[in-house]
Structure formats: structure tokens, C-alpha cells
């Protein structure tokens, strides 16, 4: 009869804390940096995608963010957590690219205004079945579009707080803003989103 001891499952090893990995990278261990990339690549991609609005730009911002993190990690002084530092780099890289993109995309004053684009979508009030699924898809698309159209100051805060689920305090650290400023920008951003998404809410 087998002993019960043989059935005991050894506990999984605890993940190495970010700070430890950062110190290893600072000491020259590049494998530790690869572990940090694996740990945060999806999160950072989400931020860059939400801010940039398309895969190609998000991909470029993602690469730039990690390259900068690698180049400057030697100067990281542990005054914040690694992820807030990394998110800040990703946010700044994305916003910088957005500014450049907006400069390139000049719009003629004579170009007719697409009125439909400024109006909320008309969605039938159907609660069940395939229509509900379709409505959810439309809502997601409308939400992403509305977020992309937010002014820059509001967009970063809404993405980090409402879509990525950071706390007000974490957003304040990422953005180098006071918590009060985060709350203010968040509320203003939400009001703009509400106007654009009114038919869904």
C-alpha cells in the first residue's frame, strides 16, 4: 500500500520579485530582463494598443518602450515599483508617437465633416441572443474609438485606470500627477466618453 507521503505535492516556487530581477539586470544579467519582458509584454501591449489604436503603431511603441527600459534600467533607483516605471515609459512613448502622428496627418479645412462619425451609434434595445453579442462587439469598437478620440491628458488616465485597472494611486505614480489631478482628469475623460457612448449607457 503506497504511503501518503508519496502523494504530497511540493509547492510551486514563488516567482522572483521584480526588484530582484531588476538588480540582476543592473548587474549584467540579460536573462533577468527577458523574464521581465515575458512578465509584462502583454500588459504593456494593452497600454500601447489602447493609446495608439492600431496594431502596427502599438507594436512599435511596445518595442520602443522595452528598448528604453533596457537602456535606462541601470538608472532605475527603486523609488517606484518597476511596473509603474515601465508603464510610464510605455505611456510616454505612445503619447510621443501620437503627437508625431497627429502632426503628419494634417486635415484640410475644406474636408467635409463626417457627421455620422460624431454621432452615437444607434443600437436597437435587444437584450438577448446574437443581437446582444453583436451589441457587445459594437460597444467594444465604439469604446475603443471613443478612447482614441479623447484628449491626450484624459486618454492616458482613462486607459490606465478604467481599462487596465490600476488604482488612482498607481496611475498618479505612472503619470507623475497628484491623486487629485488623476481623479479630475478621469472624471472629465469619463464625461467625454459618456457623451460619445450615450446610446449604450
Amino acid at each position: 500500500m503506497p504511503e501518503h507521503k508519496q502523494l504530497a505535492v511540493s509547492p510551486l516556487p514563488l516567482p522572483v520579485p521584480d526588484d530582484v530581477l531588476v538588480r540582476r539586470v543592473q548587474a549584467g544579467n540579460t536573462e533577468a530582463f527577458e523574464e521581465l519582458v515575458r512578465r509584462y509584454e502583454r500588459k504593456v501591449y494593452n497600454i500601447t494598443y489602447r493609446l495608439m489604436g492600431n496594431e502596427q503603431d502599438a507594436s512599435e511603441a511596445l518595442q520602443d518602450a522595452f528598448m528604453r527600459a533596457f537602456r535606462f534600467i541601470g538608472k532605475f533607483q527603486f523609488k517606484s515599483s518597476f511596473f509603474t516605471w515601465l508603464y510610464r515609459i510605455a505611456t510616454n512613448v505612445s503619447l510621443s508617437k501620437l503627437r508625431k502622428r497627429e502632426k503628419v496627418q494634417t486635415v484640410s479645412l475644406d474636408q467635409p465633416v463626417n457627421e455620422a462619425g460624431d454621432l452615437p451609434f444607434e443600437i436597437p434595445d435587444i437584450k438577448y441572443g446574437p443581437e446582444k453579442l453583436m451589441k457587445q462587439r459594437e460597444l467594444r469598437a465604439a469604446l475603443q474609438k471613443a478612447v482614441e478620440e479623447l484628449p491626450e491628458d484624459y486618454r492616458s488616465v482613462v486607459v490606465l485606470r478604467d481599462l487596465e485597472g490600476l488604482s488612482n494611486e498607481e496611475v498618479s505614480k505612472v503619470m507623475h500627477l497628484s491623486v487629485a489631478a488623476v481623479k479630475s482628469r478621469l472624471h472629465r475623460g469619463r464625461l467625454v466618453l459618456r457623451e460619445k457612448l450615450v446610446s449604450y449607457l
Partner: protein, 91 residues
């Protein structure tokens, strides 16, 4: 809270209520704040609508799934990372 409603049911002078809504939806868990706000919302259709729609907005955002990172995006990222690491090692 000051009430100055018009016949239409709209609430044009409820600046305080709007401020409370911002704090409430923003995560301020002050019970007194919530009580005053909900009490006001019972008599003010505009503020009630604003409160309801903002709460739904935040809820929808919280349900938004994580974007899947495409394989090509991940591949390009790792090519860049490996190139950067290789450059560092040569220096």
C-alpha cells in the same frame, strides 16, 4: 443640498451633486457622500441619469477583455529585444 429644479425635471444648478457624482464614481467610499447623492438622485432626473450612465461606463470598461497580443507583434518584440541584448554584450 440646494435644489433649483426647473419644470422640465432637468437640474441646472446642481454643481455640488455633479461634484459628488465625480467623487462617488471615482471610488470615494464615503457613506455620507453616497447617502446624499442617492437622496438627491431620487428627485433629480438629470443627475440620476448622469450617475447611472457613468456607473455603467465604468462597469463596461472593467469588463473590457485584455487585447490579445498577435504572434507577429510578439515575434517582432523579441527580435528587437535580442538585438538590443546582443549589442549590449558586444559593448
Amino acid at each position: 443640498m440646494k435644489k433649483s429644479k426647473k419644470q422640465t425635471g432637468e437640474c441646472h444648478d446642481c454643481g455640488e451633486a455633479k461634484e459628488l457624482i465625480a467623487r462617488y464614481v471615482g471610488g470615494d467610499e464615503d457613506e455620507e457622500l453616497a447617502r446624499r447623492l442617492l437622496l438627491h438622485a431620487q428627485t433629480c432626473s438629470e443627475c440620476a441619469t448622469l450617475l447611472r450612465s457613468l456607473r455603467r461606463l465604468v462597469h463596461y470598461c472593467s469588463l473590457e477583455p485584455t487585447c490579445e497580443m498577435p504572434v507577429t507583434v510578439r515575434r517582432e518584440l523579441w527580435v528587437t529585444i535580442q538585438r538590443e541584448i546582443h549589442t549590449r554584450r558586444r559593448e
